[in-house]
Symmetry: C2
Subunit: 412 residues, 2 copies
Amino acid sequence: MALYVQKFGGTSVGSVERIQAVARKVQSYHQQGHQVVVVVSAMSGETNRLLDLAKAIHEEPTGRELDMLVSTGEQVTIALLAMALSQLGVHATSYTGPQAGIVTDSSHTKARIRDIKTQSLRADLDAGRVVVVAGFQGADEHGNITTLGRGGSDTTAVALAAALKADECQIYTDVDGVYTTDPRVCQKAKRLEQITFEEMLEMASLGSKVLQIRSVEFAGKYQVPLRVLSSFSEGAGTLIVADDEESTPMEEPVISGIAFTANEAKLTVLGAADIPGVAAKILGPIGDANIEIDMIVQNVSPDGQATDFSFTVARGDYKRAQETLNQVVAEMGSGKVVGDTNIAKVSLVGVGMRSHAGVASLMFKTLANEGINIRMVSTSEIKISVVIDEKFLELAVRALHTAFGLDKEDED
Amino acid sequence: MALYVQKFGGTSVGSVERIQAVARKVQSYHQQGHQVVVVVSAMSGETNRLLDLAKAIHEEPTGRELDMLVSTGEQVTIALLAMALSQLGVHATSYTGPQAGIVTDSSHTKARIRDIKTQSLRADLDAGRVVVVAGFQGADEHGNITTLGRGGSDTTAVALAAALKADECQIYTDVDGVYTTDPRVCQKAKRLEQITFEEMLEMASLGSKVLQIRSVEFAGKYQVPLRVLSSFSEGAGTLIVADDEESTPMEEPVISGIAFTANEAKLTVLGAADIPGVAAKILGPIGDANIEIDMIVQNVSPDGQATDFSFTVARGDYKRAQETLNQVVAEMGSGKVVGDTNIAKVSLVGVGMRSHAGVASLMFKTLANEGINIRMVSTSEIKISVVIDEKFLELAVRALHTAFGLDKEDED
C-alpha cells in the first residue's frame, strides 16, 4: 500500500466528463488499496472568466480581493470531483487550501507555503477516504485566503507529498511525459523514463514547460519522487528523481534532452572600456528597468583596453533594453550598441555531461557540419547553450538529437 | 453616526454594472459617516449554474459537497463588490461566512446560526472600513462550510445586525417596500411606511414573498429594526418594527394589508364519526405522506354523531391527499371525501384588529355585497382568512381594499 498525491490541472478537469474520467483514474488507485490525495486546479477557462470580471470593475484590484475571487475556481472543482468519486462508490472529502491546513505568508497572488497541518487529511486517509484538495491556495495566519500564483497547483501537490511523506507525487498533464526534445520539432524525440531534478530544472527553464519550476525545486529539496504522466492516456510517464551519482548506471546517456527557445533577442555593447565595474554599469540600468536577462557572455578583451559584452533578453523587452543601453553608452562615453532579434537558443542538458569530456566539441562539430554558425556560447555544469540564427533552429535540434543518440528506435 | 447592515440579493448584484450601482449606494451611506456592513448573495443565475454542474455528476450529492460548491457563488460577489468599493475610493474588506465568524450547526444545506464572533468585523468597522460579507453561509465547529438554505442571505443580514447591535438592517430587493396588497391585482394598493413583525409574518406566509420568513422571525426575536427597500430606486421603503401596543397611534388602521393565494385546494371528509381522535386519524396519514396542511376547519357536529372536517393543501398535493383520504375513510368505515381545486384564500392581516370588533362582520358584509360566497373561515389574533371560489379572487381583494380604507389617495 502506497500513498500517492495526484495533481490534475485545469484541462484535465475542464468539463463534467473529464472530472468523471479523473474520478475513474483515482478510483483505480484506491481500489488497489493505495491512499490517494488528489490536488486539482480550477476548470479551464474559469480563472480567466473571474479575472475578466475583476478587470471590468477595477483596473488594479488588491491582491487580497483577487485571491478571494479566483480561489473559488478550485473550490468548485474539489466539490464536483468529490461528488464524482462518491458516485463511483468511493468515499471522498473535499478540502479548500485553508481547510487542508496550508498556511502561507501574506504575499497575496504569489504566496509561499510556510507550513501544512496535516492532521485532518491524515485522519481521512486513515479512514480509507480519498482526500480532494484545492490547489493553488492557502490562508495566512490571519485566515485571509491567499494564492500561490499561476500554476501553483503543482506546488500544492509537491508540498502535500512532502508533508505527508507520500511515496510519489504524480502530476497529470496533457503530455505523457518529458521528451528528449519537442516532438513537434523533432519527430524522433522520445519519452524519458527518468530524469533528474537538476536536468528537469534546466529543461523547464529553457522552454519545456511541463512542470512549474518552483514545484520541481520544491520536490528536489524535499526529495519527493515526482512523476509526469498523461490525464488522457495510460502509460508510466517520466519519473523525476534525485541525482544519485553513485548509482548512475554505466549506460546512462551523456545528455538527456535538448531544450530550445526562439523567444529571445541578443544585445551587445561593442568596445566598452575594459575597467572594473563595467559589467555592473551596463547591466545595472537593465535590472532597474525590470528587464530580465538570460545568457551573459563577456570575452577577454584582446588588447586589455576594450571589451565586447553580450547578453540575451526576452524578445518583448528588446526595444526597451536597446534604449536603456544607448543611454548607458552615452554616459560611459565609450562603446557601441548592436543587437539581433532573429536568434534562437539551443541547449543540451544532462547530468551525464559532468563526467564526459567532448560534449561541447561534438555539439560544435555537429552544428558546423550543418553549416550553422555559433553566435554565443554559455555553459553550466549540466548544460551547454548556444545562440544561433533563428532560421537554423529546427535543423540544429534534429541534427543534435541524432548526434547524441537520442532518436527513438524505429518501430517494427 | 449609525451602523447599518445592508443586504443585496442576487438580482441586485446580477452584473458588473449592478455591482457598481450597489457600491455607489453603499458609498453614499459611508460618506455620511455611517458604518456599513454589506451582505450579498450570489450573482443571479450562478447558484443554479453550480447546481446544474452537480446534478450532471451525482443525482444526490452530499450536503457537505453541495455547500462547498454553492458557497463559491457569494464568495465571487464579495470580492467583486469590495473591488468596486475600492474603485470608488472606499476602503472595503470582504469576508466569507466562515471568516466573518458565523458559526452554524452541521445541518448542511439548511444550517442554523449558533454564534457570530464579531471581533474581526468590529475592528474593520472601527477602522472606517466597509465590511462585505458573503450571505447564506457559515462554518460548523469543525470548519466545514455550511449554507443556510435558499434565501438565507436575509438571515445572515439580520443575524449580523443583531450580533453587531446595528441601528437598522436594510433588505434591498426588486420592490420598493411592502404593499397593502399585490399592486398587480389591486391598482390602489399602497406602500406601507411601517408594519409589525407579526403582520409581516402573516403577510409573508400568505404569499407576499418579499422577505424570507425565517429572517423576519429572527429580526422579531432580536428586535432588529428591519427595512425593505429597492435596490433600483430611491425611497424609504417599509420599516418592519416590533409591535409596541402602548405606543400604537390612535389613527392606526384596523388592518394593514390583504394577502391572498390561489395555489391551494380544499378537501373535506363529510360525515366522519364524531369521536375523540378522529382529526388525528384523518390528518396523520396526510402528514405521513409529507403533505403540508394550511387551514383546518372542523365544525361542531349538529347531532353529536358525525362531523364535517375540512382542510386546505397546496394544489400540487391535491391528488395525493385525495387518494390518502379515500384510504382513511375506507379504513374508518364512515365518511365521504369531497374536494375542490378551484378555490382561493384571502386574508386580512393587522395588529389593529385585536382591539377592533367588527372586522369579521365588515369583511363578510363586503363579500356578500359582491355576491361572493364564503366556503371556509379561519382566524388568528391578527388575521382572518376566508376561502372563496377562485373566480372571485380579484373582485374580493379590491372590494376589501376599499372597504377597509387601504386605497391610496388619488394623486393631484
